[in-house]
Point group: C2
Chain length 309, copies 2
């Protein structure tokens, strides 16, 4: 058994406009790094967190509780240390907690010789999401663990489908550095929607999936419609509609709120268009006195991966 | 220009459990026949209806108003006579009005040399649906016109996607001969749904589409979930849940209410299973004093077709 592994755990875009709580996509150019190390003491020990002020106590750390959920299924007389090098800012809406949660269980699973499937790892990592937001959702941890674009069909039982992804699909993400807690961002959503809005979403999710299977970029773009969360959450994000209009005019396929925000994503065909979207986002956001990051990334088909020390 | 055409206009299953108002599937073994004939007089004339007591006045007949919607787009100095041989009983929930509406415009389009696309014909045929139910829905007329399984992504603008269909996908449909008007069956639906139920539907529609693209019969079956219409409409259909449980036990992929009912459909892999489902449906329904028809059909990839006189 290998004693140590260093991994890259990607940021992810959940919801993807039409697929509230079910769709997610893994990014390639932004993510956390983690080192997972076997240790003699039983249990999970968060030994280092660099880049963010997150709790070191296992029970209060999303990576910690996810790893504990995994350990519960095993009968082993050793444990694991976890070092987390955060590059994804908590509260950014691109799956910061999911990267840590999924990364922890993926890394431990590798060291153990892969006893668990990606679906089982998703179930463990959902415990981290439960700690982070009060809701054990899978739409960020699933793409981190399966890679590419994923669809969570059902939670009882958990059923995750990895969808195909056209080669030239790129994401541009702007993260305005205002913190928006997933739990708060969920609270403002209505618990009831009109059946009309529901129909809009399930028509578009079906079309989005068809677009992925047929490399139909136009259809993928047309399907990025959100009448459920966007109308309520957009107000929490400065210049959301200006960004949306601006990059759509540039020619991106579609735009939406990444997860529960405040990050905004655009999907594009090709790197050039993704870069144009980034320029436009920057131009619009420079008007404000808010710090922001912009990421341009191909879709990450692999998901979490081992990296060299 | 040919002066006359005889066509077969298939019955269709709308909704397909998860895809309320968006999904539809064309049947092959049950449908109406129609004769469309060019005539010197301008306008549309319903000259014969056999098999059902439907209005002959053009403005009150679904085939009539659909054909008029088409004629409005043209400037021609002749008209068409339509004969309708109904095999699909009105109010059955397998697209009786849609078959007549779609058949009329498809047949006229053939005689005119196909000036209109399937999407344009869908738009015309929706006028028949508007007359029949007060709602210009496309989930029956689209599969009749495109064939196979269709998804209506959007109504404004109308966007229909023809989905692929595994070779061995069969439908079994039982039609209990109680009349249930689409308009009445729509009235009992709530206009609001929980976001949780919405998520269930868009997750399953996405998975259903993925199942079609990957010939994954198991996934197609698991996706046939209806938490929106079934709980309210099932009570209008005698022994609905007995049928559902009975045929699921036999091994069909999934079961649902066809359109707004009262027909119940089951999807199966292979003809043998579809026949077993039919036997089980019959066994259960013979307990009641209600007449019923049972249809077993492969999915009709072609949709409406010309037949010989």
């Amino acid at each position: 058994m290998k004693n140590e592994i260093k991994i890259f755990a990607p940021a992810t875009i959940a919801n993807l406009a039409c697929g509230f709580d079910v769709l997610g996509l893994a990014l390639d150019s932004v993510g956390d790094e983690m080192v997972i190390r076997k240790c003699d003491a039983k249990g999970i020990f968060i030994t280092k967190i660099i880049g963010s002020d997150l709790p070191l106590e296992t029970e209060n750390n999303v990576a910690g509780v996810s790893a504990l959920a995994l350990l519960e299924k095993l009968n082993i007389d050793f444990g694991f240390e976890i070092e987390i090098y955060k590059n994804i800012k908590p509260g950014s809406g691109i799956g910061s907690s999911a990267a840590s949660s999924a990364g922890a269980v993926w890394g431990i699973n590798e060291l153990l010789g892969k006893p668990f499937s990606a679906l089982e790892l998703t179930q463990f990592a959902m415990e981290g999401e439960r700690l982070a937001s009060g809701n054990a959702h899978a739409d960020n941890v699933a793409p981190a663990l399966f890679g590419g674009v994923t669809l969570v069909r059902s939670y009882t039982p958990l059923d995750v489908i990895k969808l195909p992804c056209p080669n030239e699909l790129y994401a541009t993400v702007i993260h305005p550095q205002i913190e928006l807690k997933t739990a708060d961002s969920r609270k403002i959503l209505k618990t009831q929607i009109s059946i009309k809005d529901g129909i809009t979403h399930w028509g578009n999710v079906g079309a989005f999936v068809a677009g992925l299977y047929t490399n139909n970029y136009d259809l993928i773009g047309k399907s990025l419609v959100d009448v459920v969360a966007e109308p309520q959450r957009a107000d929490l994000i400065p210049l959301y509609y200006e960004i949306k209009e601006g990059v759509l005019k540039e020619g991106v396929l579609g735009v939406g709120i990444s997860g529960s925000g405040p990050s905004i994503f655009a999907l594009s065909k090709g790197k050039e268009m993704a870069e144009k979207a980034a320029e436009e986002m920057q131009k619009i956001y420079e008007k404000l006195d808010i710090d922001f990051d912009i990421h341009i990334s191909k879709v990450n088909e692999q998901g979490i991966r081992q990296i060299n020390n």
